[in-house]
Point group: C2
Amino acid sequence: MTSPRVGVDLAKAYRLLNHGPTVLVSAAHDGQRNIMAAAWAMPLDFAPPKVAVVLDKATWTRRLLEASGEFALQVPTVGQVDITQALGSSSGLTMREQQGVDKFAAYGLQTFAGSVVGAPLLEGCAAWLECRLLPEPAIQAGYDLFLGEVVAAHADSRVFSEGRWHFTGHDSLRTIHHVAGGHFLVDGDTVDAKPLTP
Amino acid sequence: MTSPRVGVDLAKAYRLLNHGPTVLVSAAHDGQRNIMAAAWAMPLDFAPPKVAVVLDKATWTRRLLEASGEFALQVPTVGQVDITQALGSSSGLTMREQQGVDKFAAYGLQTFAGSVVGAPLLEGCAAWLECRLLPEPAIQAGYDLFLGEVVAAHADSRVFSEGRWHFTGHDSLRTIHHVAGGHFLVDGDTVDAKPLTP
């Protein structure tokens, strides 16, 4: 089942991550691919849009990202909370070595191809950001911190259009925020700030 | 009015930011102080806990942070949404030059002293993280990206204790996530992921 996708203007791509959702990070290189969950991701710039994400040295996704110079961030929904946690607590490398399959095959995940980068994009997410690594070897090695430029962005048009999230009526597509240990907060009400006079 | 505060074990301090809330960043130097909103902040490590935050070159908070080598992140509540937006869309330097007061005086903000750093901490927030700058001049200059080590952490015990957020019954203390232009998402339901077998 595919979700209705629309392209997101790169000038608005930061809004896909501005509210701090937990993301899934995918990468592919030389016929191999992996995907993992990461709560530590954020926008880094508006135009061109950039992102920052923390990837532990032990992860296979990091190796594929470093080898290919590309990755994708995708924003999972509350309907994907179980698979998000599973992708964040399992090792794609161990799975491949012990079972001979990657996470996509093991969990029966459907993907689609990005328009620019080779990283696989997971069906059913609320948004997707295709990124090219901005190599910064010192902070990658010292802090596990990876920076990227967003080169294409897409969203499920039912919940994001014209630069805004609109989850009302689509509760299963609300985005999620990991606290710890598989416990998540779900996006709830919206509120608009009223101007204050200093 | 002061909120009931408890110290947060540094090993659990990352959980104050793990869900990606919008934060307020404060800093002080040489008798001057400022506070601003920032949606682009995230944890960077568990132990010792570290954080990353993006601060535009134009901000006075950045200058005070660079001069003092210290800052504080605080997690505002939905009850503070108006002041959060005001602190994110006004310039403390302009205010001081044109009106002779800082943002704290202009908006009548109450603060309390941190236990380690000199940055003022705003009363009424859900959590506070006192941080020492980890100087990385190249990424500060190139990406407006600042890294810090968390040296003390505190939370409002009504909504955070034993390493977990618990907002039920305290709706006005729920934390917030800026989308754009003063439009925020509020933390809603909680959900626990169920284990999946690959």
